[in-house]
């Protein structure tokens, strides 16, 4: 077991603990904290994969922005004051579907002969930037347009109307 393997298994356990905590948390605030744990552990898994740009993006966007947005929404909808009934009636079916999806994924992952290409290697920020602005320039522009439209839409939907 070298350092990478130890780090991988610890971080994977943290991510799964966070995900399970989110799935079975008894309050929304606890769920959000477990979600943040899972997202930061996934950022660590990106580091194990030597994708350090993505790890940074993950910490900034998920650990920062998305977590704060979710906490704000909880505060504004007063989700923390609600009684304990957080699960709906389709819980057993949801459990069954989730288990089937997981077993199917594992079966396919182990049954397929994946192509391999040597060992891990590091991808620099520069290579990602060059690729993003040359080969993937049009999807990049479309993504920026999507973000702009989503931002305008979110402001219009969430804004209080004048007569309210």
């Amino acid at each position: 077991m070298n350092t990478f393997q130890v780090a991988f298994y610890v971080l994977a356990l943290m991510a799964l603990a966070g995900a399970a905590g989110l799935a079975w948390a008894r309050s929304v605030v606890h769920g959000a904290l477990f979600l943040i744990l899972a997202l930061l552990a996934v950022a660590g898994l990106f580091l194990v994969l030597l994708a350090d740009f993505l790890a940074l993006v993950q910490v900034l966007l998920y650990g920062g922005a998305v977590a704060i947005l979710i906490l704000f929404a909880m505060m504004l909808t007063r989700a923390r004051e609600e009684p304990a009934a957080l699960d709906n009636a389709q819980k057993p079916w949801a459990m069954l579907v989730c288990l089937l999806v997981f077993l199917g994924t594992v079966a396919v992952a182990y049954a397929t002969p994946w192509p391999r290409s040597g060992s891990f290697s590091h991808v620099g920020f520069e290579a990602i930037g060059v690729s993003l602005f040359t080969q993937w320039a049009i999807p990049f522009e479309i993504a920026s347009l999507v973000l702009l439209v989503a931002m305008v839409g979110a402001i219009i939907i969430a804004r209080a109307e004048e007569q309210e």
Binding site: V57, D87, F102, T105
Partner: protein, 102 residues
């Protein structure tokens, strides 16, 4: 060297737990958090494939960046909708937004 399958199992587990959260929870914010977890599982999958089977190790990371971007747009819009739902119906539970249910 960590085998590729272990990454796939972890991302599959993250996806399944997110799916369970989406299907079994009533609160809209919790459902949204489940969607985020599913998207994170997918992102981990893309990066693992990119590292293990793409000689340049780049395309999967670019895809992951786009997934994260779209997820950010999605979370902002969905939270705005949940806020609007709470303001109109005094609840954030998705199963109580049943005005158009047959």
């Amino acid at each position: 060297m960590i085998p590729l399958e272990h990454f796939l199992v972890v991302s599959g587990a993250l996806f399944s737990l997110g799916l369970y959260t989406v299907l079994a929870r009533r609160n809209g914010v919790l459902v949204l958090m489940g969607v985020e977890l599913m998207l994170n599982g997918v992102t981990l999958n893309l990066v693992a494939f990119s590292v293990f089977s793409d000689p340049q190790r780049l395309v999967g990371q670019i895809f992951a960046i786009f997934v994260i971007t779209v997820a950010a747009a999605e979370v902002a819009l969905a939270l705005a909708i949940i806020l609007r739902l709470y303001r109109n119906r005094q609840t954030a539970n998705v199963d109580q937004a049943d005005l158009m249910r047959w």
